[in-house]
């Protein structure tokens, strides 16, 4: 019996993994195991088989390649693929190895070690471990995780909640989707540890509607965990539920997410009070990104000091960078903080797609700043990005080529923000629409000098006066486009 491994991840299926599975089904002597994806998506569909020296891999496989794989010819040892070998896989260590819904395999690969340790510690000691680890939230705001937990723990209430923000709306990011589809038990374990630390009895995973496979997989994992008796904290049941949203980007903002979870319009709430004090149904609530929760089990299992030994002075641990756009090797790279953006693109991006020339790189999703080729020496850490007025956000890196029209791209950013604005605060509700109108004027060649000045002024107002990051960050991609590619905007201005 030959066993072959093939990913079940959405992106692997999107490029033909299921076509292989169908073509090779019911072949005597062949067992197909559907695993999570390695995240080296440029190689998908990627097929692996065991060998005495570890897994061997065949990339970009088509149905007709089976004889070659069965003969064992032409494969590459998986640990000699540079894209994977140069990473520090911790949260994504089991990706490509295990089956997403196999609890046994998760446990065999270190799963629930963190929870085991957390159960032996007092809630204060769990929070102490998080403090030592210096973990910051991975969703974008980079707030110290332990502080939130401490506040929620200290706030007295009849009940408390843990909410995973799985509304991964930043275009160019997919690591939460990979986690939910690939190792859902890791997310559940992280949420359980948090629940024990703050004394929560209920949890929700708010998953975006665009991720049906992720929602299905997490639901199945929650059921499995419940049946296996894992959703018990201090002898009391922990009730965990998956809630699917309805296509609103701003629901990734934590207070809008809570409004949506309560079934109302996903409109941003003014802060304070912060959710850790008054969140879901007015109770103390920890809202954290999926990746943040998924990082917690390793910290408990291996210790806060271990986590704090990786990364830069104030950005500890690893970051899951998601590289996309016009590069040769789009995919997920988990690395310690501290490489430069240029390093990352060189080591992992594999250069530009054939015939393409790099024009600009956007980091941190649709609200992230643009970097021209001359500014790629920036260090990947929260502080360097904050100093540059940029954000790491959720770790998305999108590379644009020289065919990209920067005025159209800027208009696209502003139109997106206008579409997705929740409408609660005026700078965002009106500012994004006015910004879009100005850019459309410039695009039509009817702009005037004062229009670009007005856009800059509008941007300042939105940055300082918006209620949340959607309005506060929306000007950045537009203003950095104008800053670095001024000639393209000047062409649309008549003076």
């Amino acid at each position: 019996m030959t066993r072959l491994y093939l990913a079940t991840d959405t992106s692997a299926r999107a490029v033909g993994a299921n076509r292989l599975a169908e073509a090779w089904a019911n072949r005597p002597g062949l067992e197909l195991v559907r695993t999570s994806s390695r995240g080296a998506f440029f190689l998908e569909p990627l097929v692996e088989r065991d060998s005495p020296g570890g897994r061997m891999a065949w990339s970009n496989v088509g149905p007709d390649d089976l004889p070659q794989i069965l003969a064992g010819s032409g494969g590459t040892p998986i640990d000699r693929i540079p894209f994977l070998a140069q990473q520090t896989r911790i949260t994504f260590a089991n990706f490509g190895v295990t089956q997403p819904l196999s609890l046994d395999e998760y446990v065999a690969h270190g799963g629930f070690q963190g929870m085991k340790r957390a159960q032996a510690l007092s809630p204060d000691a769990i929070i102490g471990e998080l403090k030592t680890s210096r973990l910051r939230g991975r969703g974008g705001a980079a707030f110290p995780v332990w502080t939130k937990w401490q506040v929620a723990r200290e706030t007295q209430a009849d009940r408390k909640y843990v909410v995973a923000n799985a509304d991964e709306g930043d275009a160019g990011t997919y690591c939460d989707r990979m986690l939910m589809e690939g190792e859902p038990f890791r997310l559940i374990e992280g949420m359980l540890i948090c629940a024990r630390a703050i004394g929560a009895t209920q949890g929700y995973i708010y998953c975006r509607q665009e991720y049906p496979s992720a929602a299905r997989t997490v639901r199945a994992a929650v059921q499995k965990a419940e049946r296996s008796g894992l959703l018990i904290l201090d002898d009391k049941p922990f009730h965990l539920e998956v809630f699917v949203g309805a296509g609103s980007y701003v629901c990734g903002e934590e207070t809008a997410l809570l409004e949506s979870l309560e079934g109302r319009r996903g409109v941003v709430r003014a802060k304070p009070p912060y959710p850790a004090v008054s969140g879901l149904y007015g109770r103390p609530t920890i809202v954290s990104n999926v990746l943040t929760f998924a990082t917690v089990p390793s910290i408990l299992a291996r210790g806060g000091d271990w986590h704090a030994s990786m990364g830069t002075e104030r950005s500890k641990g690893t970051i899951a960078l998601q590289i996309g756009g016009r590069v040769q090797h789009p995919g997920l790279a988990e690395v310690p903080f501290g490489l430069t953006l240029a390093d990352v693109l060189e080591r992992f991006g594999g250069g530009m797609a054939p015939g393409a020339k790099l024009k600009a790189v956007q980091v941190g999703g649709p609200l992230g700043s643009l970097f021209p080729s001359s500014r790629l020496d920036i260090t990947i850490c929260y502080d360097a990005f904050a100093e540059a007025g940029a954000i790491l956000g959720h770790g998305g890196i999108v590379v644009f080529d020289d065919e990209t029209d920067m005025v159209e791209l800027a208009r696209h950013f502003m139109a997106f923000a206008a579409d997705e604005s929740c409408g609660k605060c005026t700078p965002c509700r009106i500012g994004t629409v006015r910004g879009q109108e100005i850019l459309e004027k410039v695009q039509a060649g009817r702009g005037r000098d004062e229009d670009l000045a007005l856009l800059a002024d509008l941007g300042e107002t939105m940055k300082t006066a918006s209620l949340c990051a959607l309005g506060g960050r929306a000007p950045y991609p537009v203003l950095t486009a104008i800053e670095h590619f001024p000639h393209e905007f000047r062409q649309g201005v008549r003076g």
Binding site: T10, S11, R13, A14, V15, G39, F41, F42, E44, D158, R159, E168, G169, D170, A171, G172, T173, Y174, R177, T201, Q202, E210, Y211, S213, K236, P237, H239, F243, V244, G245, A246, G247, S248, Y249, E262, G263, R264, R265, G266, V267, Q322, I323, G324, G325, R326, P330, G331, L332, Q362, G365, P366, G396, V398, V399, E403, T404, L409, H412, F416, E420
Partner: protein, 180 residues
């Protein structure tokens, strides 16, 4: 949408809606006057979840016809304005039925970088509809989606729940043929 009756009207039994098949069944688990099982976790009663209810109605009817708002509001003991507000807020809640298949072209940044605008224009020409419209035979509704998380193998396209990556114009004809 009408919000006749409004929030100040005293609660009363709803008038029969002239039979929207499936509506009553979809609403049943959300009705505030339904018999409630004791909660396992001892969680106190929480207010109605309008969004969940509307998603359930849409699941049953493929959309939420504006005419059903009064009955939904009554079942949830919410105002019609509350229900209409949630219905109009979320892009995925529809007030009209879509075609048999919904094609969503991803226009997230990674797909934009991969020049998805060309593919979208070609698809509009092929189907002879604009974004937001349904083909006259009711087969396809064409929409834009802001990122399906398939960024590493873009440009991407979703048809119903199936996601396709590295989509070229040549692939599109073959893909569409399998959705009748």
């Amino acid at each position: 949408m009408t919000t006749k009756g409004g929030s100040d009207a005293p609660a009363r039994r709803p008038e029969p809606m002239g039979g929207v098949p499936g509506l009553a069944e979809a609403l049943a688990p959300y009705r505030m006057d339904r018999p409630k099982e004791p909660s396992r976790t001892g969680t106190p009663h929480v207010p109605p979840n309008i969004l969940s209810c509307l998603l359930a109605v849409q699941e049953a009817l493929r959309c939420v016809p504006p005419g059903t708002i009064p009955e939904i509001a009554h079942s949830l003991e919410a105002t019609e304005a509350d229900v209409a507000g949630v219905l109009s807020y979320y892009p995925d809640l529809r007030t009209g039925r879509p075609g048999r298949h919904v094609i969503r072209v991803c226009t997230g940044e990674s797909c934009v970088a991969n020049h998805c605008a060309k593919g979208l224009a070609a698809l509009q020409d092929r189907l002879k509809v604009r974004v937001g419209e349904t083909t006259p035979d009711g087969r396809f509704t064409l929409e834009r989606v802001y990122c399906v998380g398939n960024c590493a193998v873009g440009p991407s396209l979703a048809i119903d729940e199936d996601v396709y990556g590295r989509v070229s114009d040549a692939d599109v004809a073959r893909l569409l043929a399998s959705y009748q």
